[in-house]
Amino acid sequence: MDIKDMEEQSSYIRKNIAPSEPMLRTSRQSTYHWLYTHLFASPINALITLLLATLIIYIAKHLGKWVVLDAIWEGKDRTVCATKIQGGIQNNDWSGACWAFVKANYTQIIYGFYPPEHRWRVNLTGIIAITVNITFLMPSIPYKFINGFISLIIIPIFSWYLLHGGYLSLPLIDTQLWGGLMVTLTIAYISISISFIIGTLLALGRRSQISILRLLCILFIETLRGIPLVSILFIASIMFPLFIPHEITFDKLLRALIGIAIFTSVYIAEAIRGGLQAIPKSQYEAATSLGLKYTTIMCLIILPQAYRLVIPAIINILIGMLKETSLIYIVSMFDLLGMIRITSIQANWITPQTPATAFVTVAFVYWVLCFMMSRYAYFIEKRINLFKQPMIRSKNR
């Protein structure tokens, strides 16, 4: 009996293509079905659902009341947000967010004490940085190499000079006057750039053939990983000036910024090292056999692949770092958090509600920034997975 006969006889080989199963969740009815199976499948399940629902409704109601319904939107000073006992106009049992405070002080929260007639410099920096980075972050736009160079090297230097000034017709604006959101974003952006570059170099150094270089990198990484950011900031702001001659003044903000950058670069180095390890040796071999040199191989073949793998991990580190920038208040710089805090306790606005409002505002701004980063990481991750499954990709296109 030959194979063909066998195939015809065996009953367990399907002769026709199976009819496709009806799609789930196509109508409203199956939404109920979904609710039923996911939320009320058993009595215990239903009980948990109800308890949690009550809790959520309770919290949402009180928060909503505080944030929206009982909130004060308009006002010139603290009286609108203070109760009668506190010297204001509200009933004594009143409690609500004081958005009037945010509205009255938002420029200070954004720009700090940066002179109003020079705020265009901050705005210009922001617009340029956003435009350049949108093109850099979109995976489909080519020239990543040049774009990355502009984003990571040109923009930080350019924005420092534009914001700090002190040359041509741009008056110098001391970093003592900087504050608020602009400081948070400036520090975060410049530290990200620096730490990305240093991190890459450290990762490459840690895998280098030259053992002294490798040892130095390992020593550097392992030492810095064991020190909290707070102490690095203290060292940068208090101890560092002791070591250098008095004549040289090194900007305080710049010192803090470099401290944060170096601190972050160590973590980024480890993430990138993970990516480098995932690139098979055969890639190096194929490249060397074509006659390419080490730097070219790294820049054009190994690093682009490694970065793609570790972008989500790096963004995760950067999210953590963005929030840690608020620690610079310990070296008396006023970032978003610091600035809104001192604004909320100034004499003409201080009430029990203003600090609470201030912190909710700060939390929201940080959340928006971090959420955007996390969505971007998710988007890249999905793209990487798509890259691994060519079939899906080519079908979709």
Binding site: Q283, A286, S289, L290, G291, I301, P304
Partner: protein, 251 residues
């Protein structure tokens, strides 16, 4: 000394008494082997006998401890300059293709000409298309390697090597990661490309292919060349006992 000079005039690759150890393992033992200009040699032998290692030593992808390798009269030493010179003369095709997954087929082919030969992009693309045409895959130029079948990927890998216009090619089992129906395709392609007198060493497990392609067959076992002979004589009249056993298994 004079002998070597003489040899280098007729020999493209001259391997003299090469020894390689990996830890305690003796991988290449007193290897003596040479390949004439425009000669096609097939290297066969059991798994683990050191065939890949030999090819990788010729291309300076690996180092060896003792002996000499002379490529077209240039002795391979550890200076970056010689290594670079030699790699530019030799193209290599790997078992697992090793294409660059983040670059398109065309970019895979133009990368080395642009960065090593400093060719301008337009010229490099023209030449790449010429070779992609030759391996019959120019219609896939804008795709990524992962979107191609194994056979197609190997064609791209061959074109990528050819774009550097090497004088010799090393093939390390170019068909063993392919489906059976692709194998003949790639073999025909290699035969086709190499009829114009390129120096070739090809490691293969396909005896029929070795016989068709090569002027000369070398049988390698335990880090040594045990037997080498013109291809018809090698198969019809193997001398060494181990060659006979190996051939009996393979045929």
């Amino acid at each position: 000394m004079k002998g070597i000079k003489e040899n280098s005039r007729i020999h493209a690759i001259n391997i003299i008494n090469v020894n390689k150890w990996l830890g305690k393992m003796h991988i290449l033992r007193n290897m003596d082997f040479s390949v004439k200009f425009q000669e096609r040699v097939a290297l066969i032998g059991p798994s683990g006998s050191g065939k890949s290692t030999l090819l990788r030593c010729i291309n300076a992808l690996e180092t060896f401890q003792k002996g000499k390798i002379i490529i077209e009269g240039t002795e391979l030493n550890n200076t970056p300059k010689t290594i670079h010179l030699i790699r530019r003369r030799i193209g290599m095709v790997f078992q697992k293709f090793n294409l660059f997954p983040h670059l398109t087929v065309l970019e895979n082919c133009t990368l080395a000409p642009i960065w090593v030969k400093k060719m301008n992009k337009k010229k490099a693309e023209e030449e790449a298309f010429f070779y992609l045409e030759k391996v019959k895959i120019s219609d896939q130029a804008t795709k990524y390697p992962i979107q191609l079948s194994g056979g197609q990927q190997q064609r791209v890998a061959i074109a990528r090597s050819l774009c550097m216009k090497p004088r010799m090619m090393l093939f390390d089992e170019p068909t063993s990661a392919l489906d059976p129906e692709m194998i003949q395709e790639i073999l025909d392609l290699i035969m086709d490309l190499t009829k114009n007198g390129m120096t070739i060493i090809c490691v293969t497990h396909k005896m029929s292919f070795a016989r068709q392609l090569a002027h000369r067959i070398a049988f390698m076992d335990e880090g040594q060349i045990l037997e080498e002979n013109a291809s018809d004589r090698f198969f019809s009249n193997p001398q060494h006992e181990r060659t006979q056993i190996f051939l009996r298994k393979m045929l």
